[in-house]
């Protein structure tokens, strides 16, 4: 990997603390424009990782009965039904251009919408972002959450004492406590499989290659090409989410190509790692402590004793 790329992907403890045993930083590029909503990723993840079932009944939210990521759902396929004109055709200036784009979208596999009745469907498989600056890891008091040699973020279940600090710290609402178990759980990016040179279960099961696994630097290049390709086909609403090192979490290890604003998928538009402000947090704590000390001293002024 070229060194400038490596610098861009660097985290607080990867690759530095691993020395020679550091592996390339691995991640996911989830291209939601070719997701067909089959949920094979959800099933494969549960099977491989022995994630307990999480039956919640019928949600009434389109085909989504998983509803959110959680301790027992490490992949979650969102289903959004919108009444919007299709991007490629709506953006075309005349019939000829519309026809050209229609054939381009066929050729490039962009035709994933069910467009009867003018409804478009967005489907997207969400997952832990494996942030470059990960709040869950920063706030974990036990060190149960750690950065692996692949640059991913994993909970060690034999260390976690269930303090729950990571749960509200995560800006994406990914990690959660398992009720009957007391500990927190989330996607490990199949750490056990990575160590055996296997790809994560969800990526292997994905029939359309919407979930792509690989070295993060390569995935970013691939995503950039895909974005340009889509823009050229008139899909100007396509956007990369988490593909840059300059965002509030210094880039995602698992990033996305989306077809609408992130919040439409239940994702925060401008997530910021809470510990970016930890200096201010401590300043507040010590200002409060000083005020308390001053207040106690003041209580003794003017009295008899």
């Amino acid at each position: 990997m070229p060194s400038h790329k490596l610098l861009e992907l660097e985290t607080h403890s990867w690759p530095g603390s691993y020395g020679d045993s550091a592996e390339p930083r691995m991640g996911f590029f989830t291209d939601t424009s070719i997701c067909i909503g089959c949920k094979a990723c959800e099933v494969a993840c549960k099977e491989w990782n022995h994630v307990p079932d999480s039956l919640q009944g019928f949600s009434g939210k389109s085909y989504d009965n998983t509803t959110a990521l959680g301790a027992n759902d490490w992949r979650h396929v969102a289903f959004i039904e919108q009444r919007k004109p299709l991007g490629a055709e709506a953006a075309a200036e005349d019939l000829v251009q519309a026809a050209e784009r229609a054939s381009a979208t066929d050729g490039w596999g962009l035709q994933t919408y069910q467009d009867g009745e003018g409804v478009r469907w967005l489907m997207a498989s969400d997952v832990c972002k494996h942030c470059t600056s990960a709040a869950c890891l920063d706030v974990c008091p036990t060190g149960a959450l750690f950065r692996t040699e692949f640059g991913t973020v994993v909970v060690q279940e034999d260390i976690c004492n269930g303090c729950g600090y990571c749960v509200p710290a995560c800006p994406f609402g990914v990690i959660d406590k398992r009720e009957d178990d007391g500990r927190v759980w989330k996607c490990t990016l199949c750490y056990d499989r990575l160590r055996e040179d296997m790809e994560p279960a969800c990526a292997q099961a994905c029939p359309t290659n919407s979930i792509q696994f690989g070295e993060l630097g390569e995935l970013r290049e691939r995503a950039e090409k895909r974005l340009e390709q889509m823009a050229a086909a008139g899909q100007t609403e396509a956007r990369l989410y988490g593909a840059d090192s300059e965002d509030g979490v210094d880039g995602f290890g698992a990033f996305f190509l989306l077809l609408d604003e992130p919040e439409v998928y239940g994702l925060p538009p401008d997530p910021v790692v809470t510990t970016r402000n930890v200096g201010q947090v401590w300043a507040g704590v010590f200002a409060g402590a000083a005020a308390l000390g001053a207040g106690i001293a003041a209580a003794f002024i003017g009295g008899r004793k």
Partner: protein, 319 residues
């Protein structure tokens, strides 16, 4: 439905932030009811240790000895509450596996451990007369650690993604400082003979008023993010806390110096007020995390104001 009556204070009508079926973006905290009570006991213990030390330095040993006992009670109850909150209580010692400044819970675990140990030594020495030199050193350490013990819990909740907590990182520690002062003052004023309890009464009154004023300031400076403090359970708790704290402070100021019964009653009312205040803050975090508008709204507004591009990027024009 919550979220339908929000823009009362907003000048320009804005579209409701978009969301995925109205679902939260964040996970709500998984902390149990032990935690707001711990905010109280930690503040009580920490502030009482400093109250005891200063009383002792001023020669008020009647007040000092009672405050030391209250401090010991506070720092003894605290770890019990915290361990009971854990998902795996048997692993509570894992809290001391490391020391991480990015985790106020980690630093706080060390502060509480140190504070507990020093307070126990201080009280042991005070009441047995054994090892007076060690006792004096322990008292100073317990008092100095007591101050951050009382306020780090504000930093702990501020250091999350929950908007109503994170955006209060400068104001919430003052609320907690006031509540802690009020807690320790109220307890000592109730336990100490009237003639020796003057400083405790003043601390109780000053702390209660400070806590209420700081909470109002916090709510105001939070703007729309502070809405949970005027709505739902947290709104009710906030109003109740303010009423109790101010009523208790008024009684303490008016009659606390002349009637022991009034001092005890005022101490109890102030204590109820500050515990309610901790609960109001605790519940506000849940309300804030549970409604996506508090998460998405300010983030989208940052992007619209051009302060940040956010995490999403479209293809560059002409690409």
């Amino acid at each position: 439905m919550r979220g339908e009556r929000i823009r009362e204070r907003s000048m320009v009508p804005r579209a409701e932030p978009q969301s995925y079926y109205g679902q939260p973006v964040l996970k709500e905290p998984v902390w149990t009811p032990e935690i707001p009570f711990y905010f109280y006991t930690g503040g009580l213990g920490g502030s009482s240790a400093m109250l005891a030390l200063v009383a002792e330095l001023r020669g008020n040993s009647k007040l000092a000895r009672r405050a030391w006992l209250v401090a010991l009670g506070g720092v003894t109850a605290s770890p019990a509450l915290l361990i009971s909150d854990l998902g795996k209580p048997s692993r509570f010692l894992n809290m001391l596996r490391m020391f991480k400044v990015t985790s106020p819970m980690s630093v706080g675990s060390w502060i509480l451990s140190g504070s507990g140990a020093f307070t126990a030594i201080a009280v042991g020495s005070e009441f047995t007369g054994l090892y007076p030199a060690l006792g004096r050193a322990a008292k100073v350490n317990a008092a100095l650690l007591g101050l951050p013990l009382a306020t780090y819990t504000a930093g702990l909740v501020s250091n999350t993604s929950v908007p109503v907590w994170h955006n209060a990182r400068f104001t919430l520690p003052i609320v907690f400082a006031g509540s802690s002062a009020a807690s320790s003052g109220a307890a000592a004023a109730a336990l100490t003979p009237l003639r020796h309890a003057g400083p405790a009464r003043r601390l109780a009154v000053g702390g209660a008023v400070t806590s209420v004023a700081a909470a109002l300031t916090m709510e105001k400076t939070l703007g729309e993010i502070g809405e949970p403090y005027s709505r739902g359970v947290s709104g009710k708790l906030t109003r109740l806390a303010g009423g109790l704290s101010l009523a208790g402070a008024a009684l303490m100021a008016a009659r606390g110096g002349s009637s022991r019964g009034a001092a005890i009653a005022a101490g109890a009312v102030i204590t109820a007020g500050v515990i309610t205040e901790r609960w109001a803050v605790f519940r506000a975090g849940f309300q804030s995390a549970n409604d996506p508008k508090y998460t998405v709204g300010p983030q989208r507004a940052r992007i619209e104001r051009g302060e940040t591009r956010g995490a999403a990027r479209r293809a560059q024009a002409g690409a």
